[in-house]
Structures are given as C-alpha cells and as structure tokens.
C-alpha cells in the first residue's frame, strides 16, 4: 500500500467516528468498500484498536478545547451539553482554512441555532457568533438581535446559581470608530 493511500484512509479514520467504528468491526468489508485490497486492510487493521480510538479521541478533545477558547459564554451556558453537541457537529465539518479553530468555532455557533438546546443558549451562541463575525470580518458595524437580556452573562457576573436572564428584546452592537472597537447593548 502506498503511503499516500494509507494516509488518505488514516486521515478519515482519525476524524470520522462512524467509519472508525465500522472498520474496527468489519475491516475487510469496510476496507473493500473504500478501495483497499486485502494486504492494505491488514496493514491498517494491525494498528491496535485501543490506540486508534485513543488517538482519535485525543484529536476530538484538542479540537474542542481550541473551540472553547473562542466561546467562553456558550461553554458556560451549555455546560455539560457542549461536548455532546460539538461531537455531533465535528462529524460533519472539517475546517479548511489557516484559521481552523476560528472557523470551527464560528461554524459550531451557526450549527447551534438548529440544535435542540434552550432558547437562552441559542441566544448566547448567536451573540458569540456575531462577535466572531465582527472581529473576523472587519466590518464597521455588527448588530445582533437577541430575545434575552444576556448582559449579566456577558459581563461574567451571572453565576450558575444566579437568576436566569429575562426574556426581553435587546440589540448587541459592535462598532469600529477610529480603529477602536465599541461594544454596547440597546
């Protein structure tokens, strides 16, 4: 098996959980479906399943940790649910640009608008999405319409025991004036 073919298949095995599960269960069948001959299948199947899974998991966690750095508020409101949603998202998206973690975080926020999470969490994710779009895109102004007054969450003053934000239409605004950024709510 050439190194190129092996790397093509390994890259998919590392990043695609469904393919990995299927290959570990039925290497010959899945290998053949992906164009590998018997010898090639054996070569890859020789990698210990435990090592393969551990490495793939470590890649997932590294990716999640990088995304969390961009989304501190979404991480806070989603708490334990974040991992599960990111796992689902990560199976369908492979960032391609040089700013891969930024791209990943932005796309994850967009995907959360269609996820089964609370309306408040959707609002927080939308807020961080718009913020990333503003800083990443260099627009003069970005306005984000929100259904909740999330100012306390944004100011990091709301702890998990605190009163949850009230439903109220709010607009978060980011503005560039003389190369300085202003951010406020109206």
């Amino acid at each position: 098996m050439s190194l190129l073919e092996q790397q093509n298949f390994l890259a998919r095995l590392y990043t695609d959980a469904a393919l990995r599960r299927a290959f570990l269960l039925m290497p010959e069948k899945v290998g053949a479906e992906n164009g590998l001959n018997e010898k090639e299948v054996t070569e890859i199947a020789e990698i210990m399943p435990e090592e393969l899974n551990f490495f793939a998991e470590s890649l997932f966690w590294k990716r999640l940790r990088e995304v969390e750095k961009f989304l501190p508020l979404t991480k806070k409101v989603l708490a334990g649910e974040l991992t599960e949603h990111f796992r689902e998202f990560s199976q369908n998206f492979n960032p391609q640009t040089v700013n891969k973690h930024f791209e990943d975080a932005l796309e994850f926020c967009r995907s959360l608008s269609k996820s089964k999470i609370s309306e408040l969490s959707k609002n927080v994710a939308k807020f961080e999405q718009k913020k990333l779009e503003f800083f990443g895109g260099g627009q003069r102004i970005t306005i984000c319409k929100l259904d909740f007054d999330i100012r306390r969450i944004v100011r990091q003053s709301a702890d998990s025991q605190g009163e949850s934000p009230k439903r109220k239409t709010k607009f978060a605004v980011w503005l560039r004036v003389n190369r300085k950024v202003k951010h406020f709510f109206v």
Binding site: L3, Q7, A11, F55, P95
Partner: protein, 288 residues
C-alpha cells in the same frame, strides 16, 4: 551537515530560555521583558493576519528575538507540500528574519481531510523519502534553516521498518536539518510505550539539537498526553538536564497552552531552564 550550515549553527549565540507566545501572556511578557530571553511565535496565528495583528507581531519583534514555529507544513504528507501554506509561512519567516524556524515530523492532512493535529507516520523508507522530498521543497523556498520537532504519538504502526530514533536520525542526516527536541514528547512516548529515553538520546545525532521544547505532561487514563497544561515535572527536567550536558543547545522554549498558572510560575520555570543551560556552559569553561 554542510560546513556552512554547521558553522552557522555552531556560531549562533544561544538565545537562552523563552516561552511559546500566547495572547494571554501579552501583558506579562512586556512587563517581564528582562526575564524572557526570546519568544517562539506560532506562525499559523499570523497567516492571513489583518494589519492590527501584524502590527502586534511587529511590536513583539521590536522587543524580543522571535522564532517562528509552524504547525501545518505537514512535512510527512505523501501528497506533498501545500504551496499556498508554504508561501504564507515564508512571508512570516522573511518578516521576522530569525536564525531558524521549525515544524514537526508528522503529517496533518491527506486527501482533503485536515486531521486537526500532528499525526505520526510509519517509520519506513518510503516515509523518509517523502520527508526528504517535502523538506527540499521547503528549503528551496525558505533559506532560513528549518529544524524538525519530534512529536508524541498514540498510535504505532506494525508496518514500521525501523525505530523512531533511526527514522529521525536518517531524516536529519538526509535533509541536513537541525532537531527541535521536545523533551516532554520524548518523555511521554518513553512512558507510554516503555522505552528508555537515555537510550533514545544515545541513538539520535545530539550534535544536531538546536532547540528544546519543555512543559509538564498530563495523565489521561493510563496514558500520558501532551496537553501543555502542567508544570514541568522532575522527570522531564531530568531529560532536559541530560540533553544540556550532551548537546550544545541554542535555546529552550516553555510551551504552555492551557490551565495558565500565575506568570511567576512561568518565570520560575525559565529560571530553572536557564540554570540547567548555564551548567553546561560552566562545565565547558572549567574543561578549558
């Protein structure tokens, strides 16, 4: 190693002990300029950067010697080098004008899939040829010396034809590159797969070590991992000290990426590293 390169790297003064620059450190590095000898910057953070980000890089450059460290040259990719990425790295290296720059002995993409992190390659003659070809392409574009970093690996390939040490040695010799020896990665691999790091040091060309990386390891289940989120432990300092005794290193970088401690702890680690590097120098003086 060609005589020119050999002379160039041997006459290069040691840069001392530095840190991998992270945005979280920005304020602290400027406040503690006298305690940080140099910074390693992640090239990828400045590719396609907007003018204010490049301005921030320029400011760093005015205050510290900088060493660029890239993540995605994917020197072990059999499909070859991504020329667009190479061009962007080249622009940053040309802007910084460092004594060397670095990337890893790994592959990070194949067939349109980005793996997202550093993945090992099987230690085969074919893989050596791939590295040699890709590195030649990088060298023809970027004239600054490229040094190569050893990675941690969690998967092993039974199809490997040689041990990791021989694989690294062969690539360094065939490409005439220096080594960025990550002592933490070496320690982690030795613990996860039960080999002796001292023996590994015996087997690699230590005269090619240019720079070190160090940070603490993290335990995940029964394995150690390179989360870059811990204080350097005694066992890793032991590897560090041993390399300093046996090699003329030109700089050491603390790579902390998460669970950031108070900055004093970072500075203490640099002081420890500097101490170990000075022992080497003092020994040389007394030997003369």
């Amino acid at each position: 190693m060609s005589e020119d390169r050999n002379q160039k790297q041997n006459t290069q003064k040691s840069l001392g002990a530095g840190i991998g620059f992270r945005e979280q450190f920005r304020g602290s590095v400027f406040l503690n300029q006298d305690k940080i000898d140099f910074l390693e910057i992640t090239t990828d953070h400045y590719l396609d950067a907007k003018p204010d980000k490049l301005g921030a890089l320029k400011l760093l450059k005015e205050h510290f010697p900088l060493i660029p460290h890239s993540l995605e040259l994917s020197l072990g990719s059999a499909e070859g080098i991504d020329e667009e990425y190479l061009e962007k790295v080249a622009e940053i290296v040309e802007f910084i004008k460092p004594p060397w720059f670095s990337d890893h002995l790994c592959f990070t993409r194949s067939g349109g899939v980005k793996i997202g992190h550093l993945a090992p390659v099987p230690y085969t003659k074919e893989a050596v040829r791939v590295f040699v070809k890709n590195i030649a392409q990088v060298k023809s574009r970027i004239k600054t010396p490229l040094i190569l970093e050893n990675i941690t690996y969690l998967v092993r390939f039974p199809s490997s034809e040689m041990p990791e040490s021989e694989f690294i040695k062969t690539i360094l010799e065939e490409t005439d590159c220096g080594l960025l020896l990550d002592v933490t990665n070496l320690y982690i691999n030795s613990q996860n797969f039960g080999f002796c790091w001292r023996k590994f040091l015996d087997e690699i060309p230590l005269e090619r070590v240019v720079q070190l990386h160090f940070v603490g390891s993290n335990r995940h289940g029964k394995r150690l991992i390179d989360a870059h989120a811990n204080k350097t432990e005694r066992e890793i300092w032991e590897v560090f000290a041993e390399v300093c005794k046996r090699s003329e290193i030109k700089g050491a970088v603390l790579e902390r990426d998460a669970d950031f401690p108070p900055f004093e702890e970072i500075l203490e680690e640099l002081e420890t590293a500097r101490g170990l590097m000075k022992i080497q120098n003092l020994k040389k003086v007394s030997a003369v």
